[in-house]
Point group: C2
Chain length 348, copies 2
Amino acid sequence: MAKRAQTTRVGISDVAAKAGVSLATVSRVMNGNLSVDPQIATRVRATATELKYQPNPTGRNLARGKTDTVGVVVPDLGNPTFQSVLRGVSRAAALDGYRVLIADSSEVSSEESILASEARRRCDGVVLCAPRMSPAELEELAPSLYPMVLVNRTTDATSSPSVIVDYGKGIQDLAAHLMELGHTRLAYVAGPESSASNGLRLAGLATFREANPSIEIQVLPNGSTFEDGYNSAAAVLDSGATGIMAFNDLTAMGLLSNLNERGIRVPAELSVTGFDDIPFARYTTPALTTADVPIVEVGEQAWRQMRDLLNSPEGNDAGASTPEGVTRTFSPSLVVRGSTAAPASKAQ
Amino acid sequence: MAKRAQTTRVGISDVAAKAGVSLATVSRVMNGNLSVDPQIATRVRATATELKYQPNPTGRNLARGKTDTVGVVVPDLGNPTFQSVLRGVSRAAALDGYRVLIADSSEVSSEESILASEARRRCDGVVLCAPRMSPAELEELAPSLYPMVLVNRTTDATSSPSVIVDYGKGIQDLAAHLMELGHTRLAYVAGPESSASNGLRLAGLATFREANPSIEIQVLPNGSTFEDGYNSAAAVLDSGATGIMAFNDLTAMGLLSNLNERGIRVPAELSVTGFDDIPFARYTTPALTTADVPIVEVGEQAWRQMRDLLNSPEGNDAGASTPEGVTRTFSPSLVVRGSTAAPASKAQ
DNA sequence: GTGAAAGCGCTAACAT
DNA sequence: ATGTTAGCGCTTTCAC
């Protein structure tokens, strides 16, 4: 037990005593239960205010079997994408009276499962961003994490809802844009190989290739940072392509920077596109044509899916078979700015 | 009570029964209490693993009177500064087995106090980032938030520890750098008036002025975004100053962008400095001279202060008078790059 | 070294 | 409409 050297923390019983009612009544009043005499309710509320009584959430949590908290598991809190997802979840959840507990695995993927389970135990559900986790591991983990909402991936194990960004469509839109401009030789400056969203872009390009056999698309292995983009310039120039699709805005900006130093004019000699539409994209010289990814909305939607799960009749216990296999897809939207134009001489 | 339509959640009693010991023993084993016979301990652990038993944190929290969770209150999760503080706290706290609960007031300062109190009740302590909260409100709130650590501000009410960035020193370093370069007419393109860190920069400049009466420093009211910086160009040029200190890197970059469009050469005609040293700062043209703010470290330090408070003999109850009035200050460090140089003709 | 039992602060049957 | 009471799942005295 807890024979604590307690100071003066006000508990529900203090209020009950002072207001001359039972604990249950105080509890009812505090929870807005209408079945309390208005007069008494008022008196109890006054007493609570006077005593500065604030219900202890832990006690409540234990009694109600829920915490009004949702966990958000991310591989890296330094990554703008996950920061935005987190923000989206946090704000949307707050509107429903829920809070967010963070679980940052700091890129240590071996800890991811443990972290996620831990978070799940402390919360009513988990929003999982685990792009690198193997499908097998995810499948094994999924049941114990229910209710769970997946971001940017799906799983068959449990029919957990997913919120995903259609990176494949985004890159296709970009490729189509370049094609329509008259480019016939394109190059994709790829992201990290381990990146799931890079895989999605690659798949999108494969689709595009099939539909447009006349267009050449080279894939140039690269990374995800500004510097990676900067360092890709030589390969880009060697490729002979006139339409360059960078993995994201950051690499596009790095590329732009190097190209500028070399005196290569964009978009006159080379068209360049980014991906994400980060705030800076509009301020590069020239302003960057890119695909806007509504990532905060992804977080908001993830919360909504979670809320539906939490409110579903199935209840929130582990293992149960569940109905909600919903996948919500967000499509990036093409944002045309100054970094793309018709190719210099060639086609068109 | 809770006559729940419970499914098969494994509790401590299940383990106790199956292992043929008492609840207390299982608890002791799970908590690494050495006073348990090694043989029994092993058996209990095996049973726990077999049953996939995981202690319920809520029950633990209630019994122990603590949650192993710290709340981080921020005015805006979209602001890179707070994102970094959050990240610093989260990672440092994780190393000590603590988790982070987010409270994002979404700039609604009227909710800030309530949010902070709410967070405090759910957690063992609170890291408060509330730059706009009035000193009076903070003073009133502080006692009920204990243990609390303040970021970028102090209060006298409770002697809560603070972790602050010395923006005043940073801007003075920048001014001194320009002065040493030979500039005698400086201009500070200010941030938002409501910004506390802007006030700190202003105060730093006042100090600098006193120490260096021969240097002229104009203050040009402005904002905090890239666009604000862009739009400040006219005023900057009108000022006649040759050394320009922007509120932060973003506004510096906006200014740079406009200056570039006008064909004004930096640093040949005008020297420009930023503040923060965001990752992009090194990639502008020319690369930005700025003051690096170790903001993630601020978050980490905030956690350490919190940990000290949590471990202090005073215990973590409200109202108690406490010893720790420690303020930890981080000084920005000057980062000289290409955007500053000796003035064209004038002095030197 | 181990178990029995008393809580931690609250909610929710159930009875009145 | 209100009170009584039995828990929620765990920790921790206290006695053995």
